[in-house]
């Protein structure tokens, strides 16, 4: 796969201390894209100058400990309920910018009702869904997004969709709801590229994700429900080497879950 390398200027944006982050190192596994997303959200908060009015809903799963990393106010949520908590807070304090970071198990299994109804009502909140096709924190069980045939600890012979139903396309689903304003699917996994100097890695995906995260906040501040699904790897539970796991995201997950803008009611990407 070849792609245009990002400019040095684009790369620079990502360096340095961010005011929206604490000094605490994250607990995320080496190679996990939760780290990238943390950085992207923090830099979007900084770029938009909204740190002092942004609140994160910590979910249950790998993002449960994110209150240690974002230097902003936090409210914890029971498993799957973050969009409901966010709704309650946003309704009583409409000037806040409120977001959730949820896993695919959290949002698409136990929390399906909460995310769907937040979208149906068009709550002005932002949901960042980390889709790694597995329950990560609990040790690699089948998630609603697990691919057909994929081996997990609860589908040890591969996911048989005749018994479990087919994988859920979260972005397509949310985009069909009238109340949603911005729906975008991105990949957080770096992709391999061939350069004149040999094999290297492109962060094009991540730069696109960065734009999507900023757009999500902007759409929220314009009064819309925004949803960014971030395809990610989970090499620990997929039982693959880190770079093979990232390749799996960009070659296999992307086929099931194509990247792109599924909805842009306010035309934010053209602005």
């Amino acid at each position: 796969m070849t792609t245009q390398e990002p400019s040095l200027e684009q790369y620079r944006v990502k360096l340095g201390k961010l005011e929206a982050l604490t000094e605490k190192p994250t607990h995320y596994c080496q190679g996990c894209e939760h780290g990238e997303l943390t950085r992207l959200i923090a830099s979007a908060i900084e770029n938009l100058g909204i740190r002092e009015r942004t609140v994160m809903m910590d979910s249950v799963g790998c993002s449960a400990l994110a209150f240690d990393y974002f230097n902003i106010d936090h409210v914890q949520s029971p498993h799957g309920r973050a969009p409901a908590i966010a709704t309650g807070l946003k309704r009583v304090r409409p000037n806040l910018v409120v977001y959730t970071v949820q896993g695919d198990g959290d949002a698409m299994a136990i929390g399906m009702l909460e995310i769907m109804y937040a979208a149906i009502r068009g709550e002005p909140i932002s949901v960042f869904l980390v889709n790694n096709a597995i329950f990560g924190m609990t040790g690699g069980q089948m998630a609603p997004t697990t691919l057909e045939g994929q081996i997990t600890t609860t589908t040890p012979y591969g996911r048989d969709i005749h018994f479990t139903g087919a994988p859920i396309d979260a972005s397509r689903l949310i985009s069909t709801i009238d109340g949603s304003a911005y729906v975008r699917r991105v990949s957080l996994a770096v992709s391999e590229i061939e350069t004149a100097r040999g094999r290297s890695y492109s962060i094009k995906n991540i730069l696109e994700a960065k734009q999507a995260v900023e757009n999500a906040f902007k759409v929220q501040m314009m009064g819309g429900f925004s949803f960014v699904e971030c395809l990610s790897s989970c090499w620990v539970n997929w039982k693959l080497p880190i770079m093979e796991a990232k390749r799996f995201v960009n070659e296999r997950l992307i086929k099931q879950y194509p990247l792109g803008t599924y909805k842009d009611k306010f035309g934010i990407e053209k602005k």
Binding site: D73, I85, T87
Partner: protein
């Protein structure tokens, strides 16, 4: 301002909450509690109750209570109401709210159970309301009104307690106190302003960030958190016990009941006192903290207790804990929506007296 009105318990509770400056209500309909959201929906946006900034009907009991958690985290007076099957669904979030130390009010208009049961009055949720109900070591503060008058005045007390201790408070009504219509004088309610500056989630502007959660992976740290909660509960037990002690001075027999059952028992006690019996009524108003000490004090003269409940025997266990074996404790319960008649209670008291003499 005192106005005489004739209204249902559920409506009185809604107006009591409005007069206590309710800011946000999150609804999910369930019989026999639905007049509460219906009344608030009607008043939402009215000039008189401008403090009610949010009325929102959720898609489930879970969504409603979690919205309450989010609003409470924002430091406002947030409430929801439900009835038994719905109250079961609230337990997860109430455990979180206790762990996160969120001030909120949840109303449970107790109906028949277990399961779908029926929509008639019961007091079968006593254990669930007073012993935790959800996972982990925590308590709700539980207030049990026995009249439409108290349905009107308890929301203000509930919010004061919730914010004073940063703990969820449950108003424990039943299908009678909810549906009963009575002539009441609306209390003049002066809403309290609460200091939320040290914890509420309002955006980390010119201050350290506020983190509201209940997760501590380090056992030492979590132990400290749960111990802190426990110390808070002990303080509540010391300071916030409420009860009504009616004609219990020198009483040899004490009838103990809460909620609607206490109204019937009171009639029986009044009648028997007139007949010369040394009998009194003890009514816990806070079901948690339960008035154990007051029950124990009653055993200085009371030789026998009859506990009357609309269940198969729940509060009777707390009465026994308070009595500590110093007196005979008997139970009389009615379930399924049936109420004990005065005659039935008198019969029980007669047989209790007989047994005590025989013993």
């Amino acid at each position: 301002m005192t106005e005489r009105v004739y209204m249902k318990g559920n409506e009185a509770l809604a107006y009591g909450a409005l007069k206590a400056k309710l800011n946000a209500y999150f609804a999910y309909p369930i019989t026999p509690s639905s007049e509460i959201p219906e009344t608030l929906a009607k008043e939402f946006g009215s000039e008189e109750y401008r403090d009610l900034k949010v009325f929102l009907q959720a898609a489930s009991e879970l969504e409603a209570i979690n919205m309450v958690l989010g609003a409470a985290a924002g430091g406002v007076r947030a409430m929801t109401a439900t009835s038994s099957p719905g109250f079961s669904l609230k337990q997860e979030a109430l455990s979180y709210a206790a762990g996160m130390e969120l001030p909120l009010v949840v109303v449970n208009i107790n109906r028949g159970g277990p399961g779908l049961g029926n929509i008639a009055p019961e007091q079968g949720d006593y254990f669930q309301m007073t012993k935790g109900g959800g996972h982990g070591s925590y308590h709700l503060i539980v207030l049990a009104p026995n009249s439409v008058q108290e349905m009107a005045s308890f929301p203000k007390i509930a919010f004061d307690l919730a914010f004073k201790y940063r703990n969820p408070v449950c108003i424990a009504g039943d299908a009678f106190t909810g549906q009963l219509k009575e002539d009441i004088v609306f209390p003049s309610i002066e809403a309290t302003e609460y200091d939320i500056s040290s914890w509420a989630v309002t955006g980390a502007k010119d201050r350290e960030r506020h983190v509201i959660n209940s997760i501590n992976l380090d056992p030492e740290v979590h132990s400290k958190h749960v111990t802190h909660l426990d110390e808070k509960y002990r303080t509540i037990q010391q300071n916030e016990v409420r009860y009504e002690s009616h004609l219990t001075d020198e009483a040899e027999t004490v009838v103990a009941a809460f909620g609607i059952a206490s109204r019937i028992c009171k009639s029986v006690v009044n009648k028997l006192r007139q007949g010369g019996s040394k009998i009194g009524l003890f009514r816990p108003i806070t079901l948690w903290p339960f008035p154990y000490d007051e029950v124990r004090k009653l055993t200085e003269h009371a030789k026998q207790f009859l506990v009357v409940e609309l269940n198969t025997g729940q509060m009777v266990e707390d009465v026994r804990l308070g009595v500590e074996g110093r007196a005979v404790v008997k139970f009389f319960g009615k379930v399924g929506g049936l109420l004990p008649t005065e005659r039935e209670i008198e019969n029980r008291l007669e047989s209790l007296a007989g047994k005590a003499i025989a013993a």
